[in-house]
Symmetry: D2
């Protein structure tokens, strides 16, 4: 068909190509340089390119890197994108040889390699922040191992436990989230380079070598999959989403605990926004900010995952530059939540007076009294429960804490059993104390000190394992940077 | 509890307050100035503030606006946020009087007013772009009213129609989307000012006057709702989401129609990325970019709507600055899709050769032959279908277009009926021509020229109504800008 | 290609065809009968079918309806689906003529007509339940117009208002949600019949007549759009989603207000699950159930809307039977929320003692004291605020309610101004009473009785309008049922 | 407050309690019986209950199971739910002793244990179906290892590869999805029993023993986490979602490949819905059904995950019965996709004529010609590309396949280099044959036979590992069933 139009259409240039160019400048120029160098080293080592040619290309690459002021580049439409701009620079300096760098590779394998490099940096940072949060919570949990709090079910006071025990529950979730994140991070460690456009190349390339020089654990095997599969993206954002969905639940508790009427959590002045006229109005606004940042982070993960829905299993832009970059907003807001929470929780304290007040008012140790009667007085469950319930009703009617309810208890005991309780006033007082409640819960996973200490030890071990796994990756990345630098320098010096 | 900590905690400052400050600078400073002026005018007009005091405040506000280099401000933590910075400036210039501007208002009503002002600007721009798209498609549809295409069901060629008829179907969807967007835009036109913190004020404020000066259609009634309800946000983003979800379906068709093997849609060179070595490989990449930008736009709307999930029905940060700003990314990417599509579709052409080739190969006019036999030959449906099916089988076996199948048809006719067909060769050829197929579909909503022309007229009318509705709003906004300017200037000159 | 396989593949039969058949039985058999009858009446009226033929078909249709025990049908694979089963029955009874009913129509236009019929029944029921909820809240709000509650911002006590004022805020949201639902319901009122497969028909059909006989407001215009556009679905589920997203926010407040420590909302025994041993533990579990049912309803809407993402703009199964039916789960759970909430809220009461306790403890009327000093004592804002803040600090230190703080106030007043306050003890007590706070908020949208009464009147009017709009639709549907019955009976009696 | 209302409110009974009861009947009655038995065995073994008492309870449990016709039970409101109905039965038979079974446990730990048991059954089934799909694809891929297809990028023909190579790419994704599913399945293998309400119990329970008797890998440690954490749910549904999101991409390719104009994939008659009148219209509708079922499955996973958003980190109904059951719809539709796909793909064939036609028309082997010239003729890249492009242009102008382009090639070669090519006509023909293209791609991950065979071997190994992991779990579950049966029978026989 007759067609005198010329690429690029101005609207396409402005709405797509220019933003893409800016994105590459901001996020991928460094990775592209690394890929160029690693691929060139491999081409030279395998003899696909004569070493002298490779050395000339290396010199040109180094010079371009040195001489280009990336921040000053603006998109003109002359070159389709940043890649072609670099290629044009190479050809301007080297003539035909400039095109040889692109032997046995393609935009397709380069792109997904770039995206993995960019994601692994961000994922590593987030992993570090998540580990730091786990660590700060572990420290806090140990410090608060005996600090009594009220635990809730269905939004109502239910039982006493310790702040350390509560935090341990969160820590377990975070550790499992960290395991999921670790698995997703491993999903970034397989290199697409060598897949070329779709099917590898007819040249005798060494995929393992390029993978190694770029710090990957090895090549991603199937070449079609290298340029078509996106589960390194979807798996990662799914794992990230869960972190913030779960932290959002902790945040809901913090919001409730710090409500004026509850007051179990004391948020320090440094984290409270106040009103000059209402000195008692303390808005723990950081909690709200963490909530919406966690929400937005989780939902931004859905943006990326959802964009893949009903796309073909091929190389396509729906998994590339723009979409990749859209995901970085999730890392940004997620990082803010992790850092804020790691600062917030350690800074807060339990208001033990408030916790005790609720404990008393809500009679939340009453079930332990019933259990005590079964164990120590040999009562049936029905009798034990009747006596406990009658005691609770009596103290609530009196507006008194359960600890003051011995007389009511003794009366209920006699009414139910026809005899006086073996439990004396002090024993009663002990039986219904939240300290006792906690001390008796010695089973694995319980809040009693020894049980909790043993749990902490397992968390230490799990966190250490996770850190070691991260360290294995970061060490490999660093070693590869260095090895690539060495190999490239050797090429330069040929 | 003892607490020597001082606001703001450095992590809070860095992860929350500083980003918020930058957001206000970028998005809300102008709106805040307008609100300050409108509220001040009302305070003076109602006598809540003496006119002389109001004039002094007005002068200070003007001076601050003039003297502040917004872009040079960086967040220090000295003032909680930009609002307090302005208030501190006022107090530095006016002493106690500086605080009087805040009489009978609150951050709460101001915030949602700001957000509505910011959204209405963006919504108006998007509305304009959507109308422009509708208009460009209407022009294209009229131009292509008789251009034959293949219409598909279940991904397979099904019937001929015209490109204009297809575009008309899209236009109807866009017009309904524009109606939804219009309804959502109206949802921004009720002013929260005067709600103050939650319950209005004990001062004799005039809510209608402030609403009027800010260009709203009136106040939003219930004061609690003014600071707690978020459906102006959720309703808007829900409406926007649907636009891009629906356009994404058109985009899928464009992708398929422009596939090499189909080729029904010719994408011009200005919108195709090519390969120097593979001259026949024409990648209509703008389509893919529109797809993922449409996806991301729709899903970014979900970020905002989803953030509201399970939040309390109160004033809260989950509906405020940061979250509001997160939504602007949807406007940005959405605008790119609308502009790109309005450039793309008119630039494309139907490859009529390709469309005809598929029409012939897939025998997609065969049902009209059967209908013709029923109508003109008085056959039963069974006979008509048998003859048509036999004819189709024969031409497919011969690899010939249906138009060449008269002999096969005549033979099938005689086999089925025992007599020769009334339809002669020319009549047959006419009966199975896609032109005939289309011309006979004259019922309302059909592709025949008159039916289509009547449909276009209804779209013209619907679009004109939508434009008028938009115009009513923008005219009110402009008039209010002017009225506010006048009233504020009068105050200055008091 | 050689192919001896026979339809249907057993796995396809079991995983797709059989479930589809069961779905049609459960949801669409009645609609299909109505469509058959309406289409037949039109074919006869337009003369496309001779009246005598139409009468024979009508008789067969009636007989099939009478003789078929729908519930006893199980899918065998003999017929592709329920439609073909009916057609086979017709042909068995009428021979060739059995096929004539399908003249000038298609599965495509029939399907979307069926889906609209099914959705309009459900949407009408939900509309009724939403209106009933609004009405019950209006009644409750009027009854509680003067019942004082604590209103919260950022999860902390902020100001007094009335329960009626709070409920009015919710009512406004519900009314706007009802408007959105009404607009979506109108989106169901355009009939696809006559679009046939894609492009209408070459027969002289009367699309308006079929639309009328089926109770629609008219035909949906563009024939391609009739079988390809899905915004009647996406628009509807988007509107429904918002209802439950917004109600979820009310539910969060109910959860907080009924927390043991807050206790502002008293949930009656009939709606509280208790523990025999912990008589004070009252779990208002219906609130949690409403929360997750509202969440699931909103998210089920996303299932339907999301399924359309990146599908082609054509006739396709992604918008048909199975997907349509998946949406009905949202209607089911949504209906449960609406009914439960309409029962729950009226049954609850404000615990005025608890509300007063928080009001006092949190000094939430203190801003009104400052405003009073500005208005009545002519103080500057700074002075007024200083005095109010000092008063608040003093009473909080004493653990006393603000009403007991006159001495502290007088002292602060003198310290700030060097003179005694004009306000006497009784005046002070009045100024800081929550009753006064509310009574003084007389501006539109405020909680003062007259302002609130005026607001209620606007809600009455808005609800009446919405009910009338619904009534217009339901009346049309009923009239059409009757007209169709008459016309079909006349045909039978031909 | 005065309150004469009686539980349950009728609306609550109808909208919440009755559906919950039906859900327990349908999904959890068996699990509850197992938990009752395992807990009882543990109570006896630890001596918490005297063995004789435990034996009496065991007998009653067995009798209730035998005598209760579950399907005949309907909810009356007499008992709050099914649990209390069983407890009432126990008490009716055993008096006070009936309550002893509930020693040291709670609805809270029981519920999450029930949910895990129900999920592990479903997850195991889905795991088996996913493995079966992987296996069927592996078999198919081996059979099609040398079947040439056209591979696409950006929706356009790009390079030849083999169907086996393409399927291998999918298999890699499925294997990674299966790893994610395996990790999530492991997340179900930690038993909450012993957490009791929140904090374990004061009784000397043996959490490991109960876990063992129920087939878990061990107890879930932190007791608070046992009843509050939901990541076993969110992690599982996130993993499931990805499976169907990724399969949806394969399905998009199947849809495109089977389009009339493409025809690369031949779908057999058993899986195609046809039209009697349009014999050439073959609708491969199962593909569409797989698409929307995959979409709905993925989105149903979001329903469950999204319901957890902004809920408290406590025991709550938002993670319990109703919500759990809502998730089972995802298993149902997901299973249909997995089974359908495992039947569909093996039944399909590549239409090699169609694939060859596209290969020729689109010149997709042209890059290999250029590479050949570089490798074998020692040309620069620029020269090689120029010659290849000129050749392609020439054959396209002639409408001839590339294989017929030797003359054009020779001419282009001479024009570029001034000499005749070393490559003769046969060599040229070989160089541009798709068979050669594939055969030369011998690098790891490439489609050449040896490379592909090596890849298959790694998939075999990975799948075997996954199967073994599944088998470890199912063997433990079966062994536990048997051990529990033995222990319970011993108790009965005490």
């Amino acid at each position: 068909m007759t067609d005198t139009s010329v690429f690029p259409d101005p609207t396409y240039r402005d709405t797509v190509l220019a933003p893409l160019f800016d994105g590459v400048k901001a996020h991928y120029a460094g990775g592209m340089a690394a890929i160029n160098r690693a691929h060139l080293v491999m081409l030279a080592e395998t003899g696909i390119l004569p070493r002298a040619d490779a050395a000339r290309i290396a010199t040109a690459l180094r010079d371009i890197d040195t001489e280009t002021d990336l921040s000053a580049l603006t998109y003109t439409g002359e070159h389709e994108d940043y890649f072609f701009l670099v290629e044009a620079e190479l050809k301007a300096r080297l003539g035909d040889l400039g095109g040889a760098l692109h032997t046995a590779r393609s935009r397709n394998d380069m792109d997904h390699t770039l995206f993995k490099l960019a994601l692994r940096t961000r994922t590593d940072a987030m992993t570090g922040e998540l580990h730091a949060l786990a660590e700060s919570l572990l420290t806090k949990a140990r410090a608060e191992a005996e600090t009594l709090i009220v635990a809730y079910t269905h939004g109502q006071p239910a039982q006493p436990t310790t702040f350390g025990h509560y935090l341990a529950a969160i820590i377990e979730v975070i550790l499992r989230d960290a395991e999921r994140l670790n698995a997703a991070a491993e999903g970034l460690e397989h290199c697409p380079m060598g897949a070329a456009a779709i099917t590898t190349s007819g040249f005798p390339i060494d995929r393992h070598r390029v993978a190694e020089l770029l710090g990957f654990d090895g090549p991603l095997l199937n070449a079609y999959g290298c340029i078509a599969s996106v589960d390194y993206v979807t798996g990662l954002y799914s794992a990230i989403k869960l972190i913030f969905l779960h932290l959002g639940r902790l945040i809901q508790d913090l919001q409730f605990w710090s409500a004026f009427e509850v007051g179990q959590l004391y948020v320090p002045n440094s984290l409270v926004q106040i009103s000059s006229i209402m000195p008692q109005k303390r808005n723990p606004v950081p909690i709200e900010h963490m909530r919406h940042l966690a929400s937005a982070t989780a939902l931004r993960c859905d943006v990326i995952v959802g964009t893949m829905h009903n796309t073909p299993f091929t190389d396509m832009n729906d998994s590339e530059g723009e979409v990749q970059q859209a995901g970085y907003a999730a890392f940004d807001s997620g990082s803010r939540v992790l850092r804020m929470l790691a600062a917030f929780l350690p800074a807060c304290r339990i208001n033990t007076v408030a916790a005790r007040r609720i404990t008393d008012a809500a009679c939340i140790t009453i079930t332990e009294l019933a259990d005590t009667l079964v164990r120590d007085e040999g009562l049936t469950f029905r009798h034990a429960h009747e006596i406990a319930a009658a005691t609770a009703r009596a103290v609530i009617d009196q507006g008194a804490p359960l600890a003051d309810g011995y007389a009511a208890f003794a009366q209920a005991f006699e009414a139910a059993t026809g005899q006086a309780p073996g439990l004396d006033a002090e024993g009663f007082s002990t039986a219904v104390a939240p300290e006792t409640f906690v001390a008796r819960r010695t089973r694995p996973g319980g809040p009693a000190p020894q049980a909790l200490a043993e749990a902490f030890a397992t968390y230490d071990a799990a966190l250490a394992t996770l850190k070691a796994q991260r360290q294995t990756r970061t060490a490999r990345h660093a070693a590869a940077d260095s090895a690539l630098d060495t190999a490239f320098t050797q090429l330069l010096e040929t």
